[in-house]
Amino acid sequence: MKVAKIATALAFAGMSVMSAASVAQAGTLADVQAAGVLKCGINTGLPGFAYTNDAGEWIGFDVAYCKALAAAVLGDPGAVEYHNLTGANRFPALSSGEIDALARNTTWTFSRDVDLGFTFIGVSYYDGQGFIGRKSLGISSATELDGASVCIQTGTTTELNLADFFRSNGISYEPVPIETNEEARVAYLAERCDVYTTDASGLAATKSTFEDPENHMVFPEIVSKEPLGPLVRQGDDEWADIARWTLNVLINAEELGVNQGNVRSMAQGTNNPEINRMLGSEGSLGEMLGLRADWAVDVIAAVGNYSEVFERFLGTDTPLGLARGQNALYKDGGILYAPPMR
């Protein structure tokens, strides 16, 4: 009927007018609290940083940060919706709003901070890029890798550093592009490539999964600075502050001697004013962030302080066997330094 055609045309026009009512820009904090769950982006699977335990739950160094942030904002470290992201889709997921925070061993660089429009809330792990290869290759330095096939994850800073390293040393290589760490492991073990390059922590993680780790060596060259840290979207400073100070709480807790075991008793009050301010028995730091007064207590009760998280997932007792090295507190010979909580 003719009337139906006019009605359809009017409906189209009406729909377009109604949908032009723009979506109000609500803060991420309000969104997360309204949803009751934190959407956190993690790796698809990297031993030590994001992996599943026997019960199928996600655990790891980066996962611990997600739990800490959820504990700070929602009071419940289990209220996290994990999104497993590859190197290719991690940034679009964050900028589109699919996730609220990204804790996926991501390097803090100029272009990601400035050009892509993100805010890095700190460095959770100071790393560097290295190479792993078989000892049977008979070389001792990465500068002897002229003509080698190198497994490389696409869309990462690793890819750019690799090209720069070979170019500055005047040697060439054949890239074997792969999407995930697991693919790289398979290709490397099948000898599709001679060496695999990624952050030194990732190399340790991968090497720990080999059947014969003693036949493989990590070359001495560390060819880049890779400060790994969580990031959030630009433009929401309130949310960025919460994310930043969650990380700082973990580091300050280690410095002040607060750990998972004694945090509840210390929350009653101590004779150290800084601990009291941090745990909420003095001052109003939680209120300034828009959170509860005992937000930091929940954080440390959920995951522990920085050293507990490190030792549990990356430390010398784990298959990765990484020493604190640069990631120790500044007082212990490393460069980990968080601003004071006052």
């Binding site: 189209f12 940034f91 679009p92 290759l137 696409t154 869309g155 690799l162 054949e174 599709r192 433009g235």
Partner: protein
């Protein structure tokens, strides 16, 4: 009869005038569509500004700083994003063209075999068609890549005459190195090709007019091959080969075809070939059985009947769906990213991550695939109009 009043068409009110109603509803619909599109563009721009990302193609001139392992043109890590995308596009074209050629051959052969009178052959062709048609292409690509990764390691390469080497990083064969004088040989061959075409046309016209045969096949072969080869030998063989030599990690020199390219090519060939086989079978079955019987009655053998009577008529039915299959193959080549073959989508993905300009790169993808598809279908439609039967 003349009394019938056209009461609706010419009365004045906008509501009851049929033509006016039609115009008004069309205007409203077009206005609504424009409003939706304008809103989408405006909203996207506003969100991009808020996120701090500008929209613009200037980033294509920035240096890419990543390497591409299979490049048909010069490329290094200091080349621009634009050049990287061009390399990816050439890789897509390479696998698409190779795939189209082999898929057509496989499809035609299998389609005809499925109609064979030999029960075993037709059933085996049927098994092939049903098997590859029903398994997702992604799984087939991964299957072939996994098989190819079972090839021996570089240290244990299989070699043919110490010049061609096969291992799990690809097949390496000698690359021809052109020396001065070879250009003359190529020019001679091209001239020979043109002369051969002219001679074929002249011989056909002479045969139609007078019935006299002409050994045009032999003359053409001589023109295209014999004269250039003689010239080549006379000039002292101006063509050398860059034979791959084993290095510490890989072979150096020669051309390499990666297992990713081969896996993608085979999977595309077999998958699209099965669809083409069914299209060919449909086309052949669409030709009137009387044509076959008439050809046999005239004394033509089955092979000649198929080639000269059936297939030319079947092409009318085959070519439009064949166009669709070619377009499918071209677009399915974007699955290259799953095996690490750096085609347009794979390189664009890397560029998207390194530069952050997702919308521009997706727009480039859309524009490139759209133009590839449109030009393929335009060519096939022209070919279709040529082979179409002219109805009197």
């Amino acid at each position: 009869m003349a009394e019938i009043q056209k009461s609706e068409s010419s009365s004045g009110s906008l509501w009851t005038n049929e033509r006016a109603r039609g115009i008004v509803s069309q205007v409203l619909l077009v206005g609504g569509l424009i409003a939706v599109v304008w809103f989408l563009v405006f909203n996207t721009n506003k969100n991009l500004e808020q996120a701090g990302l500008g929209l613009g193609f200037g980033f294509l001139a920035d240096q890419a700083f990543f390497e591409i392992n299979q490049n048909l043109i010069e490329y290094s890590s200091t080349s621009t994003f634009g050049r990287a995308l061009l390399v990816g596009l050439l890789n897509t074209l390479l696998v698409s063209v190779l795939g189209i050629i082999t898929a057509t051959i496989v499809g035609f052969v299998m389609g005809v075999l499925r109609l064979s009178n030999n029960w075993m052959i037709s059933r085996m062709a049927g098994v092939y068609v049903e098997g590859t048609r029903n398994v997702p292409l992604l799984l087939q690509i991964i299957f072939w890549w996994t098989i190819l990764s079972g090839l021996p390691r570089v240290a244990d390469s299989l070699s043919i005459g110490n010049a061609v080497f096969l291992n799990n990083r690809g097949v390496r064969f000698p690359a021809p190195v052109v020396e001065p004088g070879f250009g003359l040989v190529i020019v001679t061959a091209i001239i020979g090709l043109f002369v051969a075409l002219i001679i074929s046309g002249w011989a056909t016209r002479r045969r139609i007019a007078t019935g006299q045969g002409f050994p045009s096949l032999w003359v053409n072969l001589m023109l295209i091959f014999l004269f250039p080869v003689l010239l080549f030998l006379m000039l002292g063989r101006p063509l050398s080969f860059d034979v791959p030599v084993p290095g510490r990690f890989n072979f150096s020199g020669g051309l390499n075809i990666t297992p990713e390219l081969v896996a993608l090519w085979w999977a595309l060939t077999l998958y699209t070939g099965s669809f083409i086989a069914e299209t060919v079978r449909a086309g052949i079955l669409a030709v009137n059985k009387g044509q076959t019987e008439g050809a046999y009655a005239l004394g033509l053998r089955p092979g000649q009947t198929m080639r000269k009577v059936i297939i030319p008529q079947a092409l009318r039915v085959i070519v439009p769906p064949l166009t669709s299959q070619y377009l499918n193959l071209t677009k399915n080549s974007s699955l290259a990213i799953v095996v690490g073959y750096q085609d347009l989508v794979s390189v664009g993905n890397t560029a998207l991550n390194q530069s952050g300009h997702s919308i521009e790169i997706v727009a480039i993808w859309l524009a490139v695939y759209l133009s590839l598809s449109l030009s393929t279908s335009a060519f096939m439609n022209w070919y279709n109009s040529r082979v179409a039967l002219v109805e009197r």
